[in-house]
Each structure stands twice: as C-alpha cells, then as structure tokens.
C-alpha cells in the first residue's frame, strides 16, 4: 500500500452497497483512490467493476431501480447528497466508453460540444479549447487540417482519442475509462495506453479493464473485484507480484476469469 498511501486521496468510497432492483451488485465496497494517478479495476465479467465506475459520475442514476447505500466522497463532498448537481459533477468527472461514441457532427463540433453546453460562446476561446484538447489527446497532428470533417471519417482508435479529447474539453479533474480500449486494435490500444501515462500528470484516472496486462502496464493502483466485492486493493506492482489473497492469485495467473 506504499504508493497508495503516499499520494493524496481524491475519492473516498465507504461501505458502498448498490442494488439493481433486488440484485445486489456491489457489496460493502470501501477504497480510496489517489489523486493524479491511474487506478485500474480488474475482475471477471459481472463482478461490479463497471458498476462502481459509473457510480463515480452517477451514470447509474439513469438505470431505473438503482439503489445506493453508503458514501462516495470526491474531494470531501458526498456526491450522492442533495446539494450536489449531477450535471456539474459529470463536468468534473469525465467518462470515456467502451465503444467510441463520437456525435454525428464534425471533429470540431464534437470537442466544442461540452464547452458550448457549459456556456463558452466565443469563437477564439472555442478554437483554443479544441486545439488544446486535441493536443492533449495526441490527435491534433492527425486531424488539424480536417476539423470540419465528420468524426466518423476517423478510424476506431482516432475516434476513441477524439472521445478522450471531448471529455478533456470541459476541463474535468477525473477521467473514467470504461474498458476504453477493448474495441480497438493492438496499435490503437498502445497509443491510448501511452496517452493515459501522459494524462495522469494532470488528471486522476480510473479505468476498468478486462485486460490484466493492461492494468499491469498502465496503472499505479489495482483493485480486484469478485462478485460485487473488493477482494484486494494495492499498488499494482505488489498486487501482481505478491498478491495477499488466494483468489487474486488464481485470477492473475489465469486459473479463472
């Protein structure tokens, strides 16, 4: 736990239970997620890792019958308390999805969508945001001459980096990545992984991944989930080289999952 405790905690989850109707999807989950680092959630399908990710920007709210008990604090604020405005929360906690989901608009308008939503109107300001966001997502050099083209003219990997740029354009503090590379080819995946390494200096990144090697390559902390419970949470090196729980060891050595 050395790295995890050395960094400042940004997200604090305590005794979180989540139900979809009668299905108990998360069971007494507790963990802290440090600032400006990469935290990876791993575990077999249906273990609750994506569910937990979506509680961090309250995307679960849209699923009817979702019930939550316990606390999720970001920078000291309980995000499920009444005074929290969901839209403002989501502006601060950006998200990238499994399938690239660019809007059916131009590359420029995809990036400018968020800032426009939150009130930026000036053309020069928007130009600046679009350029900065695309540069941060390492896409600028590939698209700078085609900003008016449809986002669908891009390849899958470029579309996913566009979605990352779109999320960065509203200036979030946290970036959630829900298996963001699982629909991509190995080269595009590698580019996104490199990008994540860059971005962690400015953003707190929480990623769900199916790919244990990816977690090992990219993350600083790893959380292993099983059946809605956190089995083990440690810094990545320790968790992969010297897991303290037998189930973690079985999973990372490929005995199940």
């Amino acid at each position: 736990m050395s790295t995890a405790t050395a960094l400042k905690t940004l997200i604090d989850i305590r005794d979180l239970d989540l139900y979809y109707g009668t299905y108990h999807a998360l069971k007494k989950v507790s963990m802290t997620i440090p600032e400006k680092a990469v935290t990876a959630f791993i575990g077999p399908s249906g273990c609750g890792k994506s569910t937990l990710l979506r509680t961090l920007n309250r995307m679960n709210d849209m699923i009817i019958g979702t019930r939550i008990e316990g606390k999720v604090e970001i920078a000291g604020t309980d995000i499920y308390s009444n005074e929290v405005d969901v839209e403002t929360l989501r502006k601060k906690v950006g998200m990238v999805f499994q399938q690239p989901n660019p809007f059916p608009k131009s590359i420029y308008d995809n990036i400018a969508y968020g800032p426009r939503l939150h009130g930026t109107r000036s053309k020069s300001q928007l130009d600046e945001i679009v350029e900065q966001s695309l540069k941060q997502a390492v896409l600028w050099d590939e698209v700078k001459d085609y900003l008016k083209r449809s986002a669908f003219s891009l390849s899958g990997g470029q579309q996913q980096r566009l979605c990352i740029a779109r999320a960065l354009a509203v200036n979030p503090d946290i970036l959630l990545m829900d298996e963001a590379t699982s629909a991509l080819d190995p080269i595009s995946t590698l580019k996104i992984e490199e990008l994540v390494q860059e971005l962690k200096h400015r953003y707190t990144i929480v990623m769900v991944t199916h790919n244990m090697h990816q977690a090992a390559r990219v993350s600083d902390q790893t959380v292993f989930f099983l059946n809605g419970e956190v089995v083990e949470f440690d810094n990545t090196e320790t968790l992969f080289s010297n897991p303290s729980d037998k189930r973690t060891e079985d999973y990372i050595t490929g005995r199940f999952g």
Binding site: R90, G94, Q99, N101, F103, P104, Y113, L117, H118, S150
Partner: protein
C-alpha cells in the same frame, strides 16, 4: 431391410416435386399482386393526364394557374385555381402549425422522458387517434371546434378555415409524433450517454443530440404530414365551406381543392362537360403538389442525414 440397403443407394433421387410446383406458381401469384398496384397507378395517372389535357384544350393554362376567380359551375364561368389553392394552403398551414410543434413535443416526451409504463399507454392511444374516421373529425370540427371559436370571435361563420385547419392538425399529430419518435428512438443510446457524461441535462440531450441526429426522419415526418393535410378531404368538405375565395382571413368560409372535387363528383355534372373536366385539372394540380413534396422530402432526408 439390411439386404435392401445397397439398392437404396443406387436409386437415390434428387427430385422434389413439392418444391418444384410451388416455386413456379408462388412467384407468379406474387408478381400479379405487385403488378396490380403498378397497373392501377398507371391507369390513374393516364386518366388524369388525358382528361386534364382535354380540359386545357378549352381553358387557357395560364388563366387556370393565375386566375383569381373560381366559378366553373355558375355563369360567367371562370377557371382560376388560386382561390382553391389558397384555401388548401391556409388549411394546411394551420394544420401544420398545430401538428408539427405538438407532434414533435410529444415525440420528444415519449422517446426521452416518458417511463416505459407511460409510453406503453400513450403510444397506442395516439395510434387510436390516427384510426378515427375523418368524417368523425369533420363533425367534431363543425359541432365542437367551431362553436368554441365562435365564443372567442363571435362573428365567425358556421364554415371557416380555422376550425377545419385545427382539426386536420389534430388528426395528423399522431403521424408526426409516431414517425418522429421512431427516428429519435433509432438514435443510439451511446450518443445520449456521451452527452450525459459531459454534463448535459435531459433537455439538452434531447435538443442538441437526439433531435439533430434524428433530423432527417423528423423533416420527413413533417413533409408527410404536410402532404397528408393537403390531401385531406372529409374534414374540409364538412367544416371549411364551399366558397372559393382568395383570402387570408382564417375565420372566413373557403373551399379547398379536395372539397371542390367532392362537390362536383356528387352533383349531376354531365360526363365530358367542361365542369367535369375541372375536377381532373384540380386533381392533377393536387397530384403534382404532393409529388413535388415527396421529392422534397426525399431530398431533405438525404441532405440532412447525420450518420451514426
């Protein structure tokens, strides 16, 4: 049986009489069904063209298109279609002003806001609205909407364009809302999630993501509604009057193209007379307008298609 086995193999048959016969007959039957509607269309268009052509042998085409007086049944006869066209357009515009905003709003409600339970009730009810016979709508206009208008504008006539237009509008709401909703429901959920994740509200997602992405479908529904309103016959015959006049006042009695055709078809106009010819000329005008609208609708649908 065992002794017969090798013999069976040598008499293997690859014929299947059952499939043979049906595969020959079924396509013929199906083709005849398809041909029937094509032939009917050709027949209608042929009749329309030939009768219209002979009509324009007696009446000057520019008098017909630009004349401002329509009285083909009473002397002195005149054949300017503008009053009928004006009446039709007035009813249609009123109808669209009612149907497009309300239809679109209910489509947005149904696809973006309504819980599944509500949608399951509201959608069939809207579709029942589409199944009401238009003659019932006509009497609804005459006996309910017109008195209502009269209580606001006391000097409105029994027959007026406003009442008919409003009710035609109500009639085509389900069409606009159902087609627009289909277009909106076809927008992938992932696009909505992308926008929600950026901090968009429900309304912003509906207005800035779903409506633009479904725009071509929405425009097609609006154009279809427009041509449906232009072609509507029963409501306007019952409620809008039979007074062809060029006016912009919706409280006056007017006559639409369709209502005129009904009037002449039901009278004792002799076959082959000039009065008889007018209904084909008017019908031709209607046909050309709806035909052009369909082309516009297709063009718009292609032009504004946002791919996802």
């Amino acid at each position: 049986m065992q002794g017969n086995l090798p013999q069976q193999e040598t008499t293997m048959s690859f014929k299947n009489k059952r499939a043979h016969i049906s595969d020959k007959i079924v396509p013929i039957v199906l083709f005849m069904c398809a041909a029937l509607s094509v032939l009917t269309t050709i027949g209608i268009v042929y009749t329309l063209f030939s009768e219209t052509f002979s009509f324009f042998k007696t009446v000057n085409i520019s008098e017909f298109l630009f004349g401002t007086k329509w009285s083909p049944l009473i002397e002195p006869k005149s054949f300017g279609i503008l009053p009928l066209l004006g009446g039709t357009l007035m009813v249609t515009v009123i109808a669209c002003l009612v149907a497009i905003p309300i239809g679109l709003a209910s489509a947005i409600y149904l696809s973006e806001y309504a819980p599944t339970r509500v949608r399951k009730i509201v959608k069939p009810v809207l579709e029942v609205l589409a199944g009401i016979p238009t003659i019932v709508y006509g009497y609804f206009a005459l006996s309910f909407v017109t008195p209502l208008i009269k209580s606001i504008f006391p000097d409105v006539g029994v027959f007026n364009a406003l009442s008919a237009g409003l009710v035609v509008g109500i009639m085509i709401i389900p069409m606009v809302s159902s087609l627009s909703e289909d277009a909106m429901m076809a927008v992938p959920r992932s696009l909505r999630h992308g926008a929600y994740a950026l901090g968009a509200t429900r309304f912003e997602v509906a207005l800035k993501i779903v409506v633009p992405a479904a725009f071509s479908g929405i425009v097609s529904s609006a154009v279809l509604a427009f041509s449906r309103a232009i072609g509507e016959t029963m409501i306007v015959t019952v409620a809008a009057g039979a007074t062809p006049q060029l006016t912009l006042n919706p409280l006056e009695s007017i006559q639409t193209m369709t209502a005129y055709i009904v009037q002449v078809s039901m009278g004792d106009t002799p076959h082959g007379s000039i009065e008889y010819g007018t209904i084909f000329a008017v019908g031709m005008t209607l046909f050309v307008i709806t035909f052009l609208l369909n082309i516009v609708a297709q063009w718009v649908a292609r032009r504004f298609r946002e791919e996802y």
